[in-house]
Symmetry: C2
Subunit: 326 residues, 2 copies
């Protein structure tokens, strides 16, 4: 597990440093406060997974320009914008182990700085000079906000099906991974089959990433997770571990689960009880297996690329998504 | 006054109908709720001033394509997105005489639907196929969010200067008017001098529009204004009528004004007292005169265009901005 992380880091260290530098340089708002709020969340230990995927995807397509690092920040800014707004929507208190922005600066500033980052991302996308790329990013943003609305609408609804869950996580998470990988191929003027392959890679990776995240909400402690464990449930978000277990549970256990889910002030004891039921009815194992399936599909999508260090790293990242902490 | 409105309407009636149609057609979110919230604010009697300016600016540049009406919706969606977020930021209760979206659907949905409209606007901009146009719109969005943050930072600060006020209204209002007029020239492949002229027209018109709006907050009653009169003051927004009067007032009157401004629960009587002081020290007259100056500059900017019905209508709209109700 740690080996995998070391292997990836050894290869991408320079890229990550350049991404970090670009994230700082491209954040040139005129107001200090905007910068402060944006930095609070931007430079608090994010993995830079989305920009890194974009940079590696460009590399595997033989991109030789110098806009990849700059452009990659668009995906981190967009991601950060949605974090700012989502934490607000969710009423979250912790993000990456730190107080969320809205508890520090208030809701208003948080909304507006999110808007700023969203617009900044699209300005940077415009810097590619490709209308197609810009269109993908703006449509992606539409999709993400709709995914969040969808999730919000179904809050606390125990009737949420696995397919609807999949639809929500596609929009709120997978489309961003997909776009980050796909647009690199466009940027590198790669042939259509490479664009499709990277698009598939990103989509499947994104789904697996979100499933893993939803799993960690039940399997990690708050310190290793950087968010409050059990937060999904407290926010009324039904995710795959619960959806599957509810489906499988015998009526008495099912009722007990629903009682805990419906009670937003569930105790630690009740939460542990729920986890036992998730285990009993295979909710955790099922989610892990499903996520594993998407990881495999992601790796298979790369089969059209010939063997290279970059390809191996993308595959390692895919594997890492399931075993990462945070 | 009513004559002016009739004159304008007689010319733009068809354009407005087509804009209205495009606003409906381009609002194609997948989720009904997103559509409901967006429609609540979009179809509640907005003047469509921004899209109309865009369409007329394209016309005066001899634009012959068929993307103008579609594209014009980007400016209304962008405007609407900022209204949704700003009403939330300001804690407003009424907009165009209707309950604001966040009091009906809650803050979360309002934030997300605002994000959706913002992204939709940029997708529509991408439909022009012009990277320059898209860049103008995304940079504009950055600017607007920063203008709002700036205003928020200076809430209740009686030291706000006229030049800082001008900076705030440039960003929060004028840049959108400016962009709506300017990009039409780009869309129509007009020569640079026309692009500059329309940019100047839009900028000056936007400043005058906001000054008039800030004036109406002290001169109109709630029914004609569609918003709560005195709302600016209640939200701690110091606008030109107050800034100027504070500057001119003798110390006792100045202290009285500050007392009222600092008291967010001022009574109607106190509000009327403040208005008297604004009149006494010329705050209202000064603002009206300033706005009039910007209107004149807007109209002068059109001097490079030869006489036409479109030019006359743009000039009439400029005059109308100061006398409009709502």
């Amino acid at each position: 597990m740690t080996d995998l992380r070391h292997k990836i880091m050894a290869v991408v260290e320079n890229d990550l440093e350049e991404i970090e530098q670009a994230l700082l340089e491209n954040l040139k708002p005129q107001l200090e406060l905007v910068s402060d709020v944006a930095r609070h969340i931007l430079f608090s230990g994010g993995k830079r997974l989305r920009p890194l995927l974009m940079v590696l995807s460009a590399k595997i397509c033989g991109y030789t320009g110098d806009y990849d690092k700059t452009f990659s920040t668009a995906f981190e800014y967009l991601h950060t914008a949605t974090l700012l707004h989502d934490d607000l929507v969710d009423g979250a208190t912790l993000r990456r182990g730190k107080a969320v922005a809205h508890s520090k600066w208030g809701n208003s500033i948080t909304v507006l700085v999110g808007d700023f980052l969203l617009a900044r991302a699209l300005s940077i996308a415009a810097g590619t000079g490709s209308v197609q790329v810009i269109k993908i990013l703006s449509e992606l943003t539409e999709n993400m906000s709709q995914g969040e609305v969808h999730q919000l609408m179904r809050r606390g609804d125990i009737g949420l099906s696995e397919s609807e869950y999949l639809e929500v996580i596609t929009r709120k998470t997978a489309v961003l991974f997909q776009a980050a990988c796909r647009v690199s191929a466009i940027l590198a003027s790669a042939p259509a089959e490479k664009e499709i392959a990277l698009s598939d890679f990103g989509y499947n990776l994104g789904i697996a990433f979100q499933m893993a995240d939803d799993l960690f909400d039940y399997t990690l402690d708050t310190d290793s997770f950087g968010k409050e464990v059990g937060a999904d449930l407290r926010e009324g978000k039904l995710t795959l571990p619960v959806i599957y277990a509810l489906q499988q549970a015998e009526s008495q256990d099912r009722e007990q689960m629903i009682r805990i889910i419906k009670n937003k002030d569930f105790s630690l004891q009740e939460f542990e009880q729920l986890i036992e039921l998730l285990k009993k009815y295979g909710g955790l194992a099922y989610t892990e297996a499903k996520a594993g399936g998407f990881i495999n599909r992601a790796k298979e999508a790369l089969s059209i690329f010939k063997r290279s260090q970059t390809k191996e790293t993308l595959q390692n990242i895919a594997d890492y998504v399931l075993v990462r902490r945070i």
